[in-house]
Symmetry: D2
Subunit: 415 residues, 4 copies
């Protein structure tokens, strides 16, 4: 990889990225099989649990590796993306929850809210011990702002009912962070989060993930039917449908690693095809393909795409760290979060399209060889297309939001 | 489909397109299965033989439907592309051979070459009776200008040795038109064409097509090993490697239908997602997705892509007919052919990219639903990407050629 | 120019285009001066009046050249665009009025409305004698659907009050077709058209056009203040703000020639730079620039843009003729007009962007020489950018409209 | 400007950027006049000399402000670009020379070459006292690698003969750094640099800059005819035509500020049009334009362009500082310089196109108002187009170079 690959900024980040690179070597060898069979790479998560990699985003005081920089976390995920995009986005799901829980913990501490900080501290302790957490947010027929999964108060706690889709990481997650709504006495809805431990009666994790790409990500449906959780495990957060602090932090700090994953896929495709072009010759001259002008021009276009992706990730990672990591949680205004979110959505559009275009160009450069099933290029072409589906926000809504923020209008998306 | 879909210009073209549309209804029902299993739609070709559709490009005097307009042939293939891209490109392969043989026949007649015209007339008669022909041109490690398949004179004819890849239509083709080279006495090579009937000893049609998309196209390898053909079945044409009349006609008239196929795929994706957007509603408002601004904007981008594709196909079809159908064969200069080829390559780049982008936009509009295996969008996304691999010319070489022609340089592509 | 330039379809169209080409030779020699001085090419319009070119769009029965094909009219304007974009868009303004008046006449005849058809016949007679007409539609702070210019009934006729901007052709127009509104008794507004002859008291044509480009188009402000016209010269048409038949016909048939103008500019830039690249050599090799790979690649991109522009114009011209010229006026439904308008807006976006990109690429290929004031490239760069401002619709609104039509929603644009 | 504008990294950089911002306020008020008249803003340079801003790139030990970070220098130039692009690129010319002289000085010190370091130290002292330097490199009919300006040994020094174009900053430069060639005894040419003080007999600075944009940059021709300079003022550097260390440092560290200038222009256009959209209302609703969906969508596209520009500048500035500022000069290999140059060329293509597109989008958003001469948008549209002409490398050659470096071929550009 070139001198311009993404690099961690902190010392602890560097150790973590090296560890991720070691795992990547092993993970790469199984990617094709998991793709073909549509199986989840359980062995990869076992290994990452064993090495402690899964605890990367947890502060050292809670037993984790202590990589608090969102930028640096993204770099490690980028390395895994080169090996297997499915593993990378699944691990990022867990890192996102870890980072956000830690941020909530910091906020509670700043506000002197000891009850909440104690509870979140326990959660962090579990994550530091290797527990794996996932967000369980997407539903059919609505967007993440408006979960239809409903929480109802019952004796001894709360009952959760609903159906989630795209449940990445569900085959090994120990804890599900379930977005839901709760009908208030006045008939309005509150939005909130339910913490559901794997195996709670009433929770069914299906085995039905079957998609064009990211076939090893275990993104099954998860059904909640009369699933009762303890009183303390539901957190009411805001009005239902609001683009609130929680969603804005998830949509930026939580999603940066996703972008890193897709760029990793594109980098793998680039390395693969560059090798091929240097080695393959063409008749009647027998010259390597790499010497041809048309090839060089197309490779330049590919590299321009990749440089643009990396520039955005590096820049956006710095902006996120500056606002969400370096500053006290309670010092950040909602307006600043919207500005960050708007800039992030711009980076997201550019990076996901850039990664797709880079893989497309690698296919073109392969001259047809990459279109055959045995070529990893055909897998990367399918995997990398998952990017634009990642919410929040939908690619269909991003321009509206960016434009409103940029013009000083109320930041929102049409319902 | 809108009022702006591609439409045939001639009366016979209209009948043919209606026939193609009737076949398309049946073919569409089997596309998913052939894609999943990687099987060739033999039944579709049986039906098209039975109805006479396969004879469309053969003049009526030889028993065909007599659609001599390349533009109109493309429109019918476009309709099949909406049903199954694999069937469309396979049928186009046959139409391309048919149209070119007819053009060669016309040329021989104009030159008063009765021997050649008689032989080609026989070929046309066979095609008019329902025989299916394919070009067998692509090889690994070289481009179509420089076939490495070698023809050597032997007792009673010629021996063919070589290996072809991407042999679309091979499961049902009765005749293979094999590009090859022949070593002259002075050590130089001539380029030429060998006609090999299916089942000739020494020809082996493998069953090894396994690709990202176009999985029903039967594009197997075909191996020629000591495969002896009669004296009259080899035609020496020009210096090996020359971008000669034959390649320029194949690269324009022969390939227009391919572009029609890919636009058909994109039109199918457009129709599918438009239907979905009109029907699917979204919480909490329950409004159809089609009412949302972001959706409308993305749909506009998709339609702009499709209109551009259709404008190019319509315009290019007219240009091809004007030069290659309406004019005497021998009145057309090689310079005019290069001008046409350069314009065609421009259309090819725009149309194939436009079709890919339209399917991509349809996926985006589907909001994730299209990424799941059961959705035909996931198949169209894989199928449509085959477009840029179609030669001549490689997408890596097209700009060089267009630029040279545009600047009055010797029209060529780096070897 | 290449074999693929736009060509007229009808015999009368061919004569007209040849006439336009003869005028273009003369017009080209004055373009630079009019640009520098910001003066209107009165001499060009005198010459085109003398030769009868200005009557091209008027049927022969009314004394005109009888080019009824909108496609063919566009081709002639395209040729003038190569010489001077300002002349081309100014003449198109007049052709647009001529063609629309003829269509209105046909409609009146079909409906048996003899009063209207007689009046319009008189108008056509004047146009056939060389009178020059312009639409006077654009105003500041509103779009063309909602003219604020107001018509009020007075003794002996109507009083017109308002201010128009972008009044292209105003220095020589004999008749202004002024869009306006009229307050009905119930307080609602009707939209309509007032015909104002040059020199009517209360009309002031300013001399204030001073813009980045199209500096010779005479697009002055025209002020109407207590300007009284005869009873018969105001036509109430529909509800104010409606995207009605009139606007849809203007927005398609009336605007196609504008697109042709901008493509003409791009073609001139292409021809200029291709000549330069073939002649200019570069040290230390002394080879012509045209032999360099990077140059050839960029020229290919330019030609791809131009081919796309021409394909759209050719295709869209055919569609317009089919619906608006070949069919009886009263047989065309409003739904068909919206479908045509949506497709036209797609072509408009692509063609205007394509023309701009082609000129931009020509500048790049010139290597800095084109950036200097004496180079016509610097003028074409300024002129060609006028394209996206042409209404209806604004480039800011086009996607919304195309998307709505494409999804079967009520065709409209946000107010 | 948003929270995401470019920001300096160092303390001294922050002071410098604040100083630049103060100058920008004054400079902005004269930009229109200098553009209209084509005059050089001498008063701006007088003021920047007086404040010490012109010494920014000179280390404090030599009397300068000591902004050694290339990234930070670029940020200040970016601020001036918002006020007047001509001033920004002219000042960057001087900063580029200052930074490169300092780097050469460091290199000489590292190598223990006291003679050279003493001479360069004197040069730095002059720059620290406010002397203004310019590179005088571009010639017609050749690229910057192959200067045709010739240096010949004469009694008491060297004679310089040649003609330079695009001599930005020439109205006020005290020293010209003239690229040239020198014929060796064996008939081959060496490339080198001649230092010519303003007013040396035989040097004529013309007053002939007249271009589409950047009209205040004073980019006159400079003619050298029998212009004799002292022995010590010519530095032979390498083989003529080589893409050597000097050109690679100029092409990266020297040109980053140019990119900052063009982004500054785009930012000014963005701020101008955003203000307009928030204030201007539209009939019949009277709502501000900023509330319209189409406007918001286009503004999002503009902001995405700008974010991409800033991400590239921030990322590339960091890479340049890391390699060219933080590391010992003699520790950097030519291979590393080529890798940096290739990445820089990618950033250059993206940033210049992004800036042009952003201004184009601002014009579109203005709805025609921006096309009028009094609007600064019409000036920015002309100024921003100068970007792609900046060498090295020509936009026509960049892909070839990037592709070769990316594929491990010999890094070069076709002669």
């Amino acid at each position: 990889m070139s001198n311009f690959e993404l690099r961690p900024c902190s010392d602890v980040g560097r150790e973590y990225v090296e560890l991720a690179e070691r795992h990547a070597l092993e993970i790469a060898t199984c990617a094709e099989e998991h793709d073909r069979e549509g199986t989840f790479p359980v062995e990869a998560f076992d290994a990452m649990r064993a090495s402690g990699l899964v605890t990367a985003a947890v502060p050292q005081e809670f037993g984790g590796l202590g990589v608090t920089s969102i930028h640096d976390l993204m770099v490690g995920v980028n390395r895994l993306g080169r090996a297997d995009g499915s593993v990378a986005i699944a691990l990022n799901m867990h890192f996102a929850v870890s980072a956000i829980v830690w941020r909530m913990y910091r906020g509670a501490r700043e506000r002197g809210d000891e009850g909440t900080s104690a509870g979140l501290g326990e959660f962090l302790g579990a994550l530091g011990s290797g527990a794996i957490a996932m967000a369980n947010a997407t539903e059919s027929g609505t967007d993440v702002r408006f979960p239809m999964t409903e929480v109802t108060q019952v004796d001894g706690g709360w009952r959760v009912d609903g159906r989630k889709i795209f449940g990445t990481l569900s085959p090994v997650a120990d804890v599900m962070v379930v977005t839901c709504r709760h009908r208030r006495d006045d008939g309005s809805y509150a939005g909130g989060t339910a913490i559901v431990f794997r195996g709670t009666p009433g929770q069914t994790i299906l085995d039905n993930w079957d998609a064009l790409g990211m076939r090893g990500s275990g993104s099954h449906d998860v059904v909640y039917e009369n699933c009762v959780i303890p009183e303390a495990m539901f957190f009411e957060e805001s009005d239902w449908g609001e683009l609130d602090e929680g969603l804005l932090v998830i949509g930026t700090a939580g999603n940066l690693g996703l972008l890193g994953s897709f760029v990793g896929i594109a980098e793998a495709a680039r390395a693969h095809v560059a090798e091929l072009l240097r080695k393959r010759t063409k008749q009647p001259t027998g010259r390597p393909l790499a010497e041809r002008h048309g090839i060089q021009h197309a490779m330049a276009e590919l590299d321009i795409d990749l440089h643009t992706c990396r520039a955005h990730l590096s820049w956006m990672g710095t902006q996120i760290d500056r606002l969400l990591v370096d500053r006290p949680v309670t010092s950040v205004s909602i307006g600043e979060l919207h500005e960050l979110m708007a800039a992030f959505q711009a980076s997201k559009l550019v990076v996901q399209r850039g990664a797709i275009d880079a893989v497309d160009k690698a296919l073109q450069l392969s001259g047809g060889a990459g279109y055959l099933t045995p070529s990893p290029l055909s897998r990367w072409y399918r995997d990398v297309r998952a990017g634009p589906f990642m919410q929040p926000l939908s690619a269909n809504d991003a321009h509206e939001y960016i434009g409103k923020v940029g013009l000083g209008q109320v930041p929102s998306v049409e319902e």
